[in-house]
Amino acid sequence: MHSRTAILVAALAGLHVILLFAGFVAPYDPATQDRELPYAPPTRLHFEDASGFHLRPFVYASMRVLDGDQAGSYQEDQTHAFPVQFLLHGSSYKLLGLHETTLHLFGVVEPARILVLGTDGYGRDEFSRVLFGGQISVAAGITATFIALLAGGILGSVAGYYGRWIDESLMGVTELFLSLPWLYFLLGVRAFLPLHLSALHTFFLLTGVIGLIGWARPARLVRGIVLSSRNRNYVLAARGFGASDFYILWRHVIPEAFGVLLTQAALLVPQYIAAEVTLSFFGLGVSEPVPSWGNMLSALEQYSVLVAYGWLLAPAGALIITSVLYGYLADALHSG
């Protein structure tokens, strides 16, 4: 592997580890509302005060000041300084979904709040929500990609290998899939679902739907590869030796496709993360109070919010970083 690819993989791995340990890295619970602090801007870190320079940064508490006609603005209450502390105890969460703990990477003592990326309309910490939301969105992207590639890979291989009418009908079905009105279907699907779906069920359903809609393109790709490799010498030889179809597919044909599939994976993951964002715009994504980058960005649909509270674009920033990393990885895999 080139060093560049190694760096990319390391960066991506780091990103995923941070998301995995979101509960630890995030200072607050993503669902805790603070109705006194809606749309608060990011807390400023200070290093200097009246007594000079401090190595450990500190913050002031935010106060909401309402002035008649306007929505209100925030000021710092400079009477009391709250130093940033590391490895402190705060809200409880389940590390990796298993072990319940209250240890957080950083934070400040109440009543101040360290709002790295400000708050949303309900006063919930945006930074914590971006981390927890990333868990959902990235997991959705990866799961959907896996489903799409699995389905597409299998179907594409079968089509390419057996050829003739299986191929024709499969290609016909993929074309059908690509021309259908998915919006209608999705509206119908959501309305059909039982009301009492837990967030987990919704998540799997969502990824299932995205993945199943997306199997068409990988299928065509794999089919192309399989078609070309079908007539390779070693395949003919294997057949001459009496190997079964399954054996040939499994040992000779699919490995050919593997490289392409891996590149496809790196390309599809960010696309499917973006698909989750789009679905949330139609209210078809994961619902409150569970954060996902998609439903967080839907708050920005309102022009007034977009213009006045720019820090809420954080999920878009996270999305872009993730997509760019994956994109570079795809490039590296392709040329590597």
């Binding site: 109705r35 309900y122 213009v307 006045a308």
Partner: protein
């Protein structure tokens, strides 16, 4: 050569002249025309204003139009016999200059103004009125407005007395019956009788109609329609209202409706100066525009609380026969009044007003809010939010909490339910999120299920497959009568329990009787007492847990004169005939 040049010159002159002649001048008042004089209206002629609309109107046919945008455009083209002044919320004579009501309250004899003409210059008289009502009440036409004219299952009888007098006989007395006439446009018999007799009335006056084939009694008439982009209406030269100086209204040469899209797109285009009026802003957009006030010259109007009421609704329908066991199991909780009272006590209405309505709203504990000054029952209590009181109520109803703080009912079941709401309404979605958090303080597990609008309606009205919903009603008129179908036990909007053949509870029986009585009581004071008691019953028994109402917020460019938004729909264009363009004389290339 010379002749050709001469001809060219002549045609150029004619063309140029035609361009200038494109502006329609008001016809000067003629003797014999009984015009309505608006004594406190003044302004100046000329100019045009643009208004943004959320979508395209679907039709220009006043009988079949159902969507709000169509009705807003049509309303500027059509005239009614009696109008409700949106500012005072009282009725005013319009095409009918006066009317007499018989002592039993059933017979209305309306005197029409003489000498009035449609926008195509042809005269208006009682024949048009009788024809119009015939169309509205024709079952074959299926007009949604037909239901307004059917009282107790019997239609109103309309007869022509003479050329300018029409008699309406109601099957029984109906309070504030004259309010029914607002919104029932008078149709030109000379244009519409033929398609009506030939059975294709519904296809008349679609958006593709030629300007010469449509005529009305409103301040404007159709000029042009550009598909997907705009509708332009121009001054009706024969409009029957004059201002304080006997100048014929409207002042504007043209009114342009631009199809802009979402509210955010509307705000953007309003900021860019492409539209002049924007109505029904959200609080965030209102504050946004307030911040821009220095940069763009605009006028902002906060008209106070609207008439709509937002509420949390629990499914109390009879589910027998439907396979909805899960919902049915939860109805034991929903039907318990103490359960609903606890929820009402736990809801943080203050936060709803401040976070959802940006402090430009009002909390509600009943169906009539402070925006409806004539009918609000001021004696209804407004208890402050109290989680302790909610917990006490739940405890006294047999609920308890386990070690994790989760709420259990008397049988030991976890209290868990879902709230559906329309995904396209961000304000109600926000309310749902706040309520979810509020109820978590009581140990209840609440799921929010955003559904696409029609999917939600399907569940609430048809399949009953839901636990609770956040919706809104009201806002149409201040008068209690349009609310009949919500509070009458057999009403079609009796959302918590649809399809009742008899009142399910004692209080619903009393409520039904009160509503039926107020409908036939003609005296305002007596009606108010009945309706006050009705409001009290509703607030005590909580079929809906009322949440709040937004203020009506509107804005216009500074150059719009006579901008008086109102709390009733259409909020800013109800006085379109009085709007005028302020500004330098050059802008107003008109009469004055």
């Amino acid at each position: 050569m010379k002749r050709i040049t001469g001809l060219t010159l002549l045609s150029v002159c004619l063309l140029v002249g035609a361009c200038f002649a494109a502006k329609v001048n008001p016809d000067s008042p003629k003797p014999g025309e009984e015009l309505a004089r608006m004594a406190d209206v003044s302004g100046r002629y000329g100019g045009h204003l643009s208004v943004g609309e959320r979508s395209e109107p679907k039709t220009l046919n006043p009988v079949t139009a159902t969507d709000a945008v169509s009705r807003e455009v049509i309303g500027r083209l059509m005239g009614d016999l009696i109008e409700i002044n949106r500012s005072s919320q009282q009725t005013e004579p319009a095409l009918a200059k006066s009317w007499k009501i018989s002592s039993d309250g059933r017979t209305f004899t309306l005197q029409l103004r003489k000498g009035i003409r449609f926008s195509d210059g042809l005269p208006f008289d009682a024949d048009d009125v009788v024809f119009s009502f015939g169309v509205y009440m024709d079952e074959a036409v299926d007009s949604p407005q037909r239901d307004l004219l059917i009282i107790d299952g019997k239609p109103i009888a309309v007869t022509k007395v003479d050329q300018y007098t029409v008699r309406f006989v109601l099957p029984r007395p109906y309070a504030a019956a004259e309010r029914l006439f607002d919104g029932l446009a008078m149709l030109p018999k000379h244009l519409l009788e033929k398609p009506y007799r030939e059975g294709h009335f519904a296809q008349s006056w679609s958006l593709n109609v030629r300007a010469s084939e449509i005529a009305g009694l409103g301040p404007f008439r159709l000029k042009e329609y550009v598909p997907g982009q705009r509708i332009v209406v121009e001054r009706n030269p024969f409009y029957w209202k004059v201002d304080s100086e006997n100048q014929r209204l409207p002042y504007l040469d043209e009114l342009v409706f631009l199809f802009v899209g979402t509210e955010d797109a509307q705000v953007m285009r309003f900021e860019a100066g492409e539209t002049d009026i924007i109505s029904r802003l959200s609080a965030e957009n209102y504050n946004l525009l307030a911040r821009e006030k220095a940069r763009i010259a605009l006028q902002l109007a906060d008209m106070g609380p609207s008439l709509e009421y937002n509420f949390l609704l629990f499914n109390l329908n009879d589910l027998g026969g439907k396979k909805l066991d899960e919902v049915a199991g939860k109805q034991a909780w929903f039907r318990d009044l103490k359960f609903r009272m606890a929820i009402s006590a736990a809801v943080d209405r203050e936060s709803i007003v401040s976070l959802v309505y940006g402090a430009r709203g009002t909390a509600l504990w009943g169906n009539v809010g402070p925006g409806n000054k004539l009918w609000i029952n001021q004696a209804i209590p407004h208890p402050a939010r109290s989680i302790e009181r909610a917990r006490e109520l739940l405890k006294s109803a047999g609920y308890g909490w386990n070690s994790a703080g989760e709420l259990l009912d008397a049988r030991g079941q976890l209290v868990e339910f879902s709230i559906i709401t329309s995904s396209s309404n961000s304000q109600r979605m926000k309310m749902a999120t706040l309520i979810q958090d509020d109820l978590a303080h009581l140990g209840m597990q609440v799921h929010i299920v955003p559904l696409e609008f029609r999917a939600m309606i399907d569940r609430v009205f048809q399949s009953f497959n839901y636990d609770a919903a956040i919706m809104a009603l009201g806002g149409g008129d201040a008068d209690p009568n349009p609310e009949m179908n919500v509070w009458a036990y057999s009403g079609t909007s009796h959302l918590w329990h649809l399809g009742e053949t008899k009142p399910a509870t004692d209080w619903e029986r009393e409520l039904d009787q009160l509503m039926q009585q107020q409908m036939v009581t003609l005296d305002y004071a007596r009606r108010k007492k009945l309706y006050d008691r009705a409001q009290q019953l509703i607030a005590e028994n909580l079929p809906f847990i009322f949440l709040g109402t937004p203020n009506i917020l509107a804005s216009a460019n500074s150059r719009v004169g006579n901008f008086h938004p109102a709390v009733l729909d259409p909020y800013t264009l109800w006085n379109a005939d009085e709007l005028y363009v302020r500004g330098p004389a050059q802008e107003n290339a008109g009469i004055r």
